[in-house]
């Protein structure tokens, strides 16, 4: 399925040569283990369409790097691309400048150059590596990093590297998310529109949901065409010893997909998380957060049958499978589609009108209460069945054991030394509509680094006040998850935290330099969801040059502007809007162009800034120009007269998003004219049909319908009090 075709002949030859050159040389005397990673732009074809991607040594995922505890890693990263890159060693305890975050800890690997990483391997377990530059991780820059114990275990094992793939350019994905596209919802059949709500008897739920200013929520934001295990949708594994156990090293190397793991051939025994061993615990299923790793044991089927180890995306639109065993393929029970309206109902209860979440006094923590469970058919329907039917012999689901963090226990004491503790409380916050993800309502670039001292303890209480779950990852340290296991609290480097949960983690300040603590959902991180810990009195980092300049580069990621446009070309003329927005600012210009002078032409341009935490309030100033060839002047409801005959004004205004997403806009121009308007966009009537309306104090009004054909094109029609009824196409970008 995955044909990787290199850009051109030159590259093909290059890769061939490199493959010959690429050998893993280990110099035994020093336990030096060398790898050469060649990064190239490439073309892949997973779905029938050729798409750009990035390969390491000609492959996606990159090669599995294997070490033994005590080795020294010597990794040459050769960047053959025309743009810079980096590699971060996820979960590894290493010197700060080897961490691989460009400009923060490590020099970026410039185009056509080589960067050497060298660090001692001080731990063992399942880890991985990936690019920490822009969105490169999404298009293939990841691989497994496996460290064996010195005494090797006599059990067969296999690495299961999970990932997600979209045919869409990740930059477009990111831009679309910031512009609240519902195209992914359409693709996933998850628009949760009014039509479906009425049909399924959830009209009130939907109404209340929009009243509380929530758009249709999904458990994940992006539509992916494929989910992979080691780059394949199906991987066959034929272990030599039927009836034996096999160790699967599961790595979630996806950019924004959580995976449910289930196995048709029996229970799953969890033996390690994020590389660290845990006391074995037997479960029916577990969810593996973005960037988490879990080592599990499963049974190799005795009979001539192949059982399915199934990794289902949390939104349940796809899966990847590992087939274990020799013989006929026995499909595992699939996870059925989510009941979105049940989730919406639950969200309504949790959400206050002001946009804050309340946990209704449930003190949720450590994944123990999965609120999404109201959406899982295998649990909801099963409970219904056992209530109503007498032959409840198949009660398997109601006692499904799902792993949660409270079940993880370290095999050895993990207590920290008795030293001063510094407490922090971070709240995870977000604005789904504008796709702004923050901590304490601030992006990475808006926050100062947090200064910590070597030899002390940092204890963090994390509360998730957003509507999505976040896999929070700490670079270069293990933290203890205070999960009720006391001295045996497990060590992790990623903590998945569900909406409304509060968890406590702590780590010993044992390093130097700057370390990221961020949400590992790629698009959340890029929008600024994270903090930087910095050790007091750290030695200067020679790799990053001028620290101020470098930090600016780091901060640039979440300051970027995203463009959007909606241009209607209809029989009455053209209406449209082009906007550029970032975390706080909005630059926008809109127009209404009639077909002739009598119908007139108008344009308004604004620069605005979002003022409140929830970003419901926007203050702006701008400039309007109108031209219309008619003699009559108009009066607004305040009795003020204005003419639209060649009028240019400067204006000031504010916009506020009212419940039910009605945007109220009040403005005054330099001549003293006041205009109030109310509008509502994108009312989802059916999966693809949207309605909108507008009314203002100049007694202008308009309303329209839009039928979405593709991500960028809709058929549209609207009535405008000035222009009349028109129909045509709308281009949405």
């Amino acid at each position: 399925m995955s044909d990787i075709i290199t850009y051109n002949r030159r590259f093909l030859i290059l890769v061939l040569i490199l493959r010959l050159v690429f050998v893993q040389t280990s110099v035994n005397a020093q336990n030096l283990v060398r790898y050469d990673l060649h990064i190239t732009d490439t073309i892949v074809n997973y779905t029938g369409k050729s798409k750009k991607a990035i390969a390491i040594n000609g492959k996606i995922p990159g090669p599995k790097l294997e070490f033994t505890e005590g080795d020294t890693a010597l990794i040459y990263v050769h960047n053959h691309m025309h743009h810079e890159t980096s590699i971060h060693w996820h979960g590894l305890i290493l010197p700060n400048e080897q961490d691989g975050v460009p400009y923060l800890t490590t020099a970026p690997t410039k185009p056509h150059s080589t960067h050497l990483y060298k660090f001692p391997i001080k731990q063992n377990g399942t880890y991985w590596y990936h690019s920490h530059t822009m969105l490169q991780e999404q298009v293939g820059m990841y691989g497994a990093f496996i460290i064996r114990k010195k005494e090797s275990a006599q059990i067969s094992e296999h690495t299961v590297l999970l990932s997600d793939w979209s045919d869409e350019n990740p930059n477009q994905i990111e831009r679309s998310l910031h512009n609240a596209t519902d195209w992914y919802g359409i693709k996933k059949k998850a628009t949760q529109n009014y039509g479906a709500a009425i049909k399924e008897g959830y009209f009130k739920t939907k109404l209340e949901n929009e009243w509380k200013r929530m758009h249709a929520m999904d458990v994940s934001d992006v539509y992916y065409e494929r989910f992979f295990v080691n780059g394949l949708t199906d991987e066959e594994l034929k272990p030599e010893k039927p009836g034996d156990k096999i160790r699967l090293r599961v790595i979630n190397g996806s950019s924004s997909t959580y995976f449910w793991l289930t196995y048709g051939g029996g229970k799953i025994t969890v033996i390690a998380s994020d590389g660290e061993d845990v006391v074995p615990v037997e479960v029916d299923r577990l969810i593996v957060g973005v960037s988490e790793t879990y080592d599990v044991l499963v049974d190799v089927p005795k009979d001539s049958i192949s059982q399915e180890f199934l990794a289902t995306s949390e939104d349940r639109i796809g899966h990847a499978s590992v087939w274990i065993g020799n013989g006929m393929k026995q499909l595992a029970n699939p996870l059925k589609t989510l009941k979105y309206f049940e989730g919406m109902k639950m969200m309504n209860d949790m959400m206050r009108v002001n946009g804050n979440m309340r946990d209704m006094g449930m003190n949720m923590s450590l994944q123990q209460m999965d609120m999404n469970a109201v959406m899982y058919p295998e649990i909801v329907d099963q409970n219904k069945n056992t209530e109503h039917s007498e032959h409840g012999h198949d009660s398997t689901h109601s006692d499904l054991v799902t792993l949660n963090y409270a079940m993880l226990k370290a095999p050895k004491k993990t207590t920290l030394p008795d030293v001063p503790v510094n407490n922090y409380h971070f709240t995870l916050t977000g604005n789904m509509n504008r796709y702004v993800w923050t901590m304490d309502d601030k992006t990475i670039s808006e926050t100062d680094k947090i200064i910590i001292k070597q030899g002390e303890i940092t204890r963090i209480v994390l509360t998730n006040n957003s509507m999505m779950r976040h896999p929070m990852h700490l670079h270069g340290h293990y933290f203890r998850v205070l999960n009720g296991q006391g001295e045996y609290s497990p060590l992790k480097n990623v903590l998945d935290i569900m909406p409304m949960e509060t968890d406590t983690i702590e780590f010993f300040n044992s390093a130097y330099g700057d370390w990221y603590f961020h949400c590992h959902i790629l698009y959340h991180m890029m929008s600024g969801m994270g903090k930087i810990f910095t050790y007091q009195n750290s030695p200067a980092n020679t790799q990053i040059g001028d620290p101020k300049k470098a930090l600016k580069k780091v901060y640039q990621d979440d300051k970027r502007f995203y463009s959007s446009a909606e241009i209607a070309l209809e029989s009455t003329g053209s209406d449209g809007e082009i906007a550029f927005a970032n975390t706080r600012w909005l630059v926008q210009t809109e127009w209404r162009l009639g077909l002739n002078d009598a119908k007139g032409y108008e344009s308004e341009s604004h620069i605005g800034r979002y003022l409140d935490k929830k970003q419901f309030l926007l203050a702006y100033s701008g400039w309007d120009y109108r031209y219309r060839n008619s003699i009559e002047s108009e009066k607004n409801i305040f009795g003020q007269t204005n003419t639209k005959d060649k009028r240019g004004v400067v204006c000031l205004g504010i916009q506020y998003t009212l419940p039910w997403f009605i945007v109220a806009d009040a403005r005054v121009d330099h001549t003293g004219n006041v205009r109030l308007s109310l509008s509502r966009d994108d009312i989802p009537l059916s999966s693809r049909l949207r309605a909108w309306g507008m009314l203002n104090s100049d007694l202008e009004y308009s309303a329209g319908l839009k039928y979405i054909l593709t991500k960028y094109i809709s058929i549209s029609s609207h009535y405008d009090s000035d222009m009349g009824l028109g129909a045509g196409l709308t281009i949405t970008y």
Partner: protein, 284 residues
């Protein structure tokens, strides 16, 4: 300007036309696969499941249990189709259906799953009865009811063929055979069981003989089969017999029949729904 537009349009049409033509030219792959299902009822479901995966054509043959599919090999593989069919509940050459999907099938469609994981699919009680095939039960020299049973099986075969005339003749033979049974050969329990059901058996058999309408015959046959089963449980036939169940008969109330072969041949519907039914029990 206008002519230019015309040319452009003509050009566009040619391009589209060609590409459509090219679409037809792509030689779609045609392949057949074994897909298990018990009665004809699920033919539609199987075909639908195959089409849902993107196959352009899907036809399932009841007799051969072969699914013929046509698909574009550039867009998909046969594996995709068979996976889809298995997800709908039907075991096939490459994939075994998930347990949940199999359990959700209509009773009638539930085929016997291959030896694979038999232990899990059969309720434990049944597994035992199959496994502990009690070592050669006190072999009776000759079964006194053998001719009764044979008449029953002959009548049943006639009903399968929807041959009401032969069914009537065989019913008459059954009445005669019932009358000829020597009670003194039977032990007490056998005697009691036989006497308990004898009157009903005779009435049902006579009715089947008297009426010539196949529908009526089948109605009586249903009751008769129940009684016959009760007797067979006590006076075991010399060779194993299969208690079969058709869940659809009599507006879904269901009906039993007894057969000497394990293969399902439905006497209630005959060729209309020959393989509807399921072995519920084996008497040996």
């Amino acid at each position: 300007m206008k002519t230019k537009l015309k040319y452009l349009l003509a050009g566009l049409i040619t391009v589209f036309g060609l590409s459509a033509f090219a679409g037809f030219q792509k030689n779609p792959t045609l392949q057949s696969f074994k897909v298990l299902e018990n009665c004809g009822m699920c033919e539609k479901t199987i075909e639908k499941a195959a089409l849902k995966t993107g196959a352009s054509k899907a036809e399932w043959n009841k007799e051969t249990k072969m699914l013929s599919v046509q698909y574009n090999p550039k867009k998909m593989t046969a594996d995709d189709i068979l996976k889809g069919v298995a997800y709908a509940g039907y075991d096939n050459e490459k994939y075994l259906a998930p347990t949940e999907s199999y359990n959700n099938l209509h009773e009638c469609c539930k085929y016997d799953r291959v030896k694979v994981k038999q232990t899990t699919y059969l309720p434990s009680a049944q597994t035992n009865s199959l496994a502990n095939s009690k070592p050669a039960q006190e072999v009776q020299n000759k079964n006194e009811l053998e001719s009764v049973y044979n008449s029953y099986f002959n009548m049943k075969d006639a009903l399968i063929r929807a041959d009401s005339k032969t069914a009537a003749i065989k019913a008459k033979e059954l009445v005669d055979a019932l009358n000829a049974v020597k009670m003194n050969v039977l032990n007490t329990t056998e005697h009691n069981a036989f006497m308990k059901f004898l009157p009903d058996l005779k009435t049902d058999a006579s009715k089947i003989y008297e009426t010539k309408a196949i529908d009526k015959q089948r109605e009586y046959f249903s009751d008769l089969s129940n009684k016959m089963y009760e007797i067979m449980k006590v006076i075991k036939p010399s060779s194993p017999v299969y208690i079969d169940y058709c869940p659809m008969y009599n507006d879904g109330k269901g009906a039993y029949w007894i057969s000497k072969e394990s293969a399902i041949k439905n006497p209630y519907y005959g060729s209309q729904m020959m393989s509807c039914g399921k072995v519920k029990e084996i008497i040996k």
